[in-house]
């Protein structure tokens, strides 16, 4: 395993019990410290399975997976792995354990055996990071969908992880909720947090440093964002929808109205078209 690698998968395959075909097949992937890796692909491409393998929630049926230097197939390593690689799932309602905001954030550090005074400090820090410090004593059922997902992120951050894995964490949110979560991710990444973002919304990966495309459980393509948008013609084959902004940027590039390096974001389009 490379010294800078947070996760390293070598020939990893995983088949769900009773399934005929593997969900993940011969995957080789390294996630380095400080990277923002976007895992994209159609439904059933194996994205969520891969996320759970990184966190040792699923153990590869073939191959080796190392997370934060620990082999995930050793049960005695699971606790150490999960305290270093935190996960945020799709539905925030299914990951909130407590009935009050601060108690839910404290759940992880309490499991880790952190002393009470330090837990209170961590809870305050984590809630500040996601902008929920005012909601500290609010019942969790009274939060909006976006606030619940921010709470789930605070719960994950309270573990003080090296890497945050987000499994379609914005899929159930409205546009404002999505933007709030993405803002938090940008902030975390700027502070050096390694991020693995699983999504099928291409508009949300514009800050990723690397993109991995999964198709039928295998890595179909891997590279940087500008290179991905040069392969728009392969998106239907990968099961990805081409967002309107990507289409527009592509058309403008063809007409030489935009430089090739321009990303399909409103900000970049405005900067290039209305300097």
């Amino acid at each position: 395993m490379e010294p800078e690698a947070v996760c390293a998968l070598r020939g990893v395959s995983f088949t769900y019990p009773g399934a005929a075909a593997p969900a993940i097949q011969s995957v080789d992937l390294t996630i380095r410290r400080g990277e923002w890796v976007a895992l994209i692909g159609a439904n059933g491409s194996g994205k969520s399975t891969l996320a759970k393998i990184l966190n040792a929630l699923l153990i590869p049926t073939r191959g080796d997976c190392f997370s934060c230097g620990y082999r995930t197939d050793r049960e005695e390593h699971h606790w150490a792995i999960r305290s270093r690689i935190s996960m945020v799932f799709q539905n925030p309602d299914n990951q909130i354990v407590a009935s009050v905001v601060e108690e839910d954030v404290a759940f992880g550090p309490e499991n880790l055996g952190v002393p009470p005074a330090r837990i209170r400090e961590i809870v305050r820090e984590s809630l500040c990071q996601v902008g929920l410090e005012e909601k500290r004593r609010t019942p969790t059922y009274a939060l909006s969908g976006g606030q619940k997902q921010r709470l789930a992120i605070a719960g994950a951050l309270a573990m003080k992880p090296e890497c945050l894995v987000l499994d379609e964490a914005t899929v159930m949110l409205d546009p404002q909720g999505r933007e709030d979560v993405l803002k938090i991710l940008r902030d975390l990444h700027s502070k050096g947090m390694t991020l693995v973002q699983i999504t099928h919304r291409l508009e949300e990966i514009l800050d990723a440093t690397r993109v991995v495309v999964l198709r039928k459980g295998q890595i179909e393509w891997e590279g940087e964002l500008p290179e991905l948008f040069e392969r728009v013609d392969r998106f239907p084959e990968w099961g990805l929808e081409i967002p309107p902004l990507v289409r527009l940027t592509g058309s403008l590039k063809k007409r030489k109205l935009l430089p090739e390096s321009c990303l399909p974001s409103v900000k970049e389009l405005l900067e290039n078209l209305c300097p």
Binding site: L57, W79, V97, V100, P109, E110
Partner: protein, 268 residues
């Protein structure tokens, strides 16, 4: 508009009140003492005193009395049913008779006693969940049951199960509400017809609800595992339980009041 209102079904209402600040063990033991006192009440008039205590508690805990009363809404039918059974089936001096139905003097007293007893039991027990967060409640129960762990009693697991059950009440009410709306939008008639027909009409609501509950349970277990949950051993608490002088004073006051009420009741 919601079909179901879940706000007061055992839900915690956060507030900065003296009752909220009490140690959960003190509140659990106080509620047990209060419930025992209510069970010992014989004279229906004595319940006026319990009503006064309830008002006082509502004031101290800064929870509106309306919210406290709403907590008893789900058991109103049960209270009426219990009172009716005692009203018509207790033998004694007949006051009114119609066919096989008869109301006796003893029946009226018994119906009032049993109905009020049940009503007050629910209201006082409701105070515990209204003023104590499920996490605190679970910590309190775990601590109280801790001595039984040496006999193999799973104190932590039981407390955690209760925390999660209370946490999921509003979520499952929302889910039921959503399914109800979906089925009504598709033409399901849940309000007309006889009892059997209406029960049958609820099957399309119950089946998806059960599927969702199991799916949620599986997802929650995975999320808890991802957050390093592995039972009670080695776990710490953000706010460790600490018994204060105010807790001793509160429990002594509650026991004193209960004994006073019971003695007053015994003297008629």
């Amino acid at each position: 508009m919601k079909f179901l209102n879940h706000l007061t079904l055992g839900q915690y209402v956060p507030a900065n009140s003296p009752v909220h600040r009490l140690d959960p063990r003190c509140k659990i033991l106080s509620v047990i003492a209060l419930l025992a006192g209510i069970f010992l009440m014989e004279h229906p008039v004595a319940f006026l005193a319990w009503g006064g205590l309830l008002l006082l508690l509502s004031r101290f805990s800064r929870i509106s009395f309306r919210v406290v009363l709403q907590g008893a809404r789900p058991v109103v039918l049960l209270v009426v049913f219990t009172a009716a059974i005692h009203l018509f089936l207790t033998k004694g001096t007949v006051l009114w008779e119609w066919g096989i139905l008869s109301v006796t003097r003893e029946g009226v007293t018994m119906a009032l006693r049993m109905g009020l007893r049940l009503f007050f039991l629910v209201l006082f027990a409701g105070f515990l969940t209204l003023t104590t967060s499920p996490m605190e409640l679970s910590d309190g129960l775990e601590s109280l049951f801790h001595p039984f762990e040496r006999f193999g009693f799973p104190a932590h697991e039981m407390a955690m199960m209760m925390t999660i059950a209370l946490r999921f009440i509003p979520t499952l009410f929302d889910e039921t509400d959503r399914i109800l709306r979906a089925q009504i939008a598709r033409g399901a008639d849940l309000e007309h017809g006889g009892l059997f027909r209406r029960m049958k009409a609820f099957i399309p609501v119950l089946v998806p609800l059960f599927v969702i509950v199991f799916q949620r349970a599986e997802d929650l277990a995975l999320a808890m595992e991802a957050r390093c949950y592995r039972g009670g051993s080695g776990r710490t608490r953000m706010n460790p339980l600490a018994w204060k002088k105010t807790d001793t004073f509160a429990i002594a006051a509650v026991i004193g009041i209960v004994v006073f009420f019971v003695l007053l009741d015994l003297r008629g």
